[in-house]
Structures are given as structure tokens and as C-alpha cells.
Amino acid sequence: MKKTFPDAAAALEGLLFDGMTICAGGFGLCGIPERLIDAIRDSGVKGLTVVSNNAGIDNEGLGKLLRTRQIAKMISSYVGENKEFERQYLAGELQVEFCPQGTLAERCRAGGAGIPGFYTKTGVGTQVAEGKEEKVFDGETYILERGIRADLSIIKGWKADEAGNLVFRKTARNFNQPMATAGKVCVAEVEEIVPIGSLDPDGIHLPSIYVKRMIVGAPYEKKIEFRTVRTREAA
């Protein structure tokens, strides 16, 4: 069962349809599935609900799908740094469901783990709690949050072996892990596909069962949102 596809369009074939829900990995522009986003843009699929911590920036990441108006709704925790997003949102052309970052991560993990709902203290007494069921455990109030399942997950990894075992690199892991589990199908793009046996079985971040299709997306020109440095003191 070959999981490796020649390119993003091939890997997404048969998986896209109007009005579908997509879970996308990444935090800001770090660890985002760029090639798959490009292919989704090129496919012209529309009316998408996209579950992603951020919405990219203008013309980067999911910003590309906003620009083409393919996204109808975002479920996110933070959507700053994006003018086109702001315009569509203020014009009422784009629906946005704000979800606390940790609740969002847990909702996707829960969806992928067969848990349709869980209780959390996050958001109690705030707008986030409006319309949600409350329950008291040991004298403390919690709200019920729902697991999220998507039609498709798109993620970005560092290396995968040919079986689909995947590892991430540094903080590019972020939401890729929970998002991968929430989709009926997960498609991954990675920087390198290595032969089976090259990765340490104890060091796999995402076991092969979650990765149904994959492509090598390299070379990547990784974008930095805020480049902050210190200077070396003169010797």
C-alpha cells in the first residue's frame, strides 16, 4: 500500500468537495502545510470550514485561501496580522468561531480519540461559555466543549518513513499532531521521506496509522513572522 504521492494535487485527489471541513496544522507560519494549501487553492474547492489555530497572513498560508474566498468559516484562536481576513470578517463575508487555543487543540485531539465532548474550566464566565452546557465537578464549574472531526487533515512534518511514520522538528510540531488525528483522512507533506527502518521506533511523533497519503514538499523557503535576534558581544 503505497502512501507516497508524486505531488500535492495527486495526494488530494478525490478528497476535496465544496462545503467540507479541513483541519490544518501549524502555528502562525511555523509548520504549515504550504504545498497542500496551494493545491487546495488550485483545486477551486469552496465553502470550506477550516479549523486552524491561525489564519495565515496576507497571501501566506491560509491567507491564500482567504484571498480566493474559498473559506466560508474559520475556527481559530488568533487571527491577527491579516488584512484580507479583517476585511472579509468586518464585511460579514467570513464566519469566525473563536476558540481558546488549548481548547482548540484538545477538541481536535478529542475528535481524533473518539471523545465527542469534554469538560474544561477554560472560558468559564466568559463569552466562550455562552450557549454551552455547564457542569459542576467537586464544587467547580466547567463547560462542555465538543470534539472536532474533519473530512480532511492537512499537516506538515519534517521526516516520514515509507510506512508513514512521521517526526516533527522543534516548534514546527505544534498543532500538526492533534490535527492529524481529527480528519477522516490525513494527508501529510514532509521535507524528506526516508526508507523504513531509518527512524527510531521510540521516537515517532505520529504513528503511521494516522498518515494515509504523503508527499515531499521540499525545498521549503520557510517564512519568519517576527525575526528577533541578539547580537554577539565584540570579542
Binding site: G28, S77, Y78, G102, T171, F226
Partner: protein, 211 residues
Amino acid sequence: MAWDRNQMAARAAKELRDGYYVNLGIGIPTLVANNIPEGMEVTLQSENGMLGIGPFPYDDEVDPDLINAGKQTISELASSSYFGSEQSFAMIRGGHIDLTVLGAMEVSQDGDIANWMIPGKMVKGMGGAMDLVAGVKKIIVVMEHNSKSGDPKFIPECLLPLTGKNVVDMIVTDLAVFQRPDHQSPFRLIELAPGVSAEEVAQKTTARYES
């Protein structure tokens, strides 16, 4: 003479203890990292999935795969570890982080905090702020005592949409420090910036507190 931003951060840093795991918000709270007492081991958490935040990288060490929750490039330490967002917030929500220092627009006398919706501006989202105030063991707010227009920010009841209800343990402003021992007790004024009088603080505060 009121405290400046760095002095406020230094005051918040006095609450650090050896072995603490800490999450620092954006703005003044970030400066707390520069004020960790010599010889004290404090591990900084970044909610995008890292324990052990190092300093900003040298120019030739910048790595796009290594950023903090503010999306700034950072460096790692020998003791660092990486994990996914679900694990990162399991730590936060589960009460494993000892302390967080956050900015705020308003704090109420009952410990409510508002820091995610700026009036008149587009809503950008709460990010991880609601998770932090709900989950971390001790919540310290660092903020100017009054807004630019002179309005008190430590007030009877928040006017802005809340980030968390009854969650704040300590408030450090440029004028004073308020603290409460638990979430049933009122705040108490425990410290004044040099040259600031209790009367001045009282005058510039609408929240009820013990002194």
C-alpha cells in the same frame, strides 16, 4: 516615583521560586525573563509546544522552526523539550505550570481579568490567554495602574469582555502591588512604588481592596 516597565517586571520576578515552570505573556511580562535571580532555576514554557525557552538567537542561528508563542524566533537550551499543542495545553490546563505573568486591560476587585478584546478594534482572538488564566497555579497581572486617558484599570467590575472570572492572584502596576491569599478573599495593597503614597493609589483606584 512610579516603577518603569522593567521595574514592574522585576517586582513580578520576585514571585519566582527555584524550580518553577513559568509562562510569560507578551509585552512587559516578557521582561520578567531578564530578571530571574542569579542561581535560580526557572524553566519558561512556550504554549506553542516547548519547555525551556532560550534567549533570542544570534543572527546566524535563526531557525524558522523555532519560535515562541509571540511568533518571535528564539533559541533552545540543553534542557529543552518539544511537544504538540495538545500536550502543551494539557500542562497548562492541568495545573502543572506554577506561575504565569500576563498583561491586562482591566482587572476587577473579584479577580476577573479582561485582556483579549480591545474596544473599537477588530477582535483578533484570545489565543492561549483563557487557557492560561484558567489553568495555571498562580496568575500575576502586570499592567499600568491607569489607562493613557487616566482611567483606573483595577476596577469594581470589568467593562470589557472577560478572559477569566475570579482567577487573578496578584496585580503589579507602576504604582503598587495587590495580592490575595485565595480566590475567596479580597485583594490587599501590599507594596507601594518608591515615593508613591497609599492615598495616591486610593485616589487612582476604583476597585475595593484592603490596605
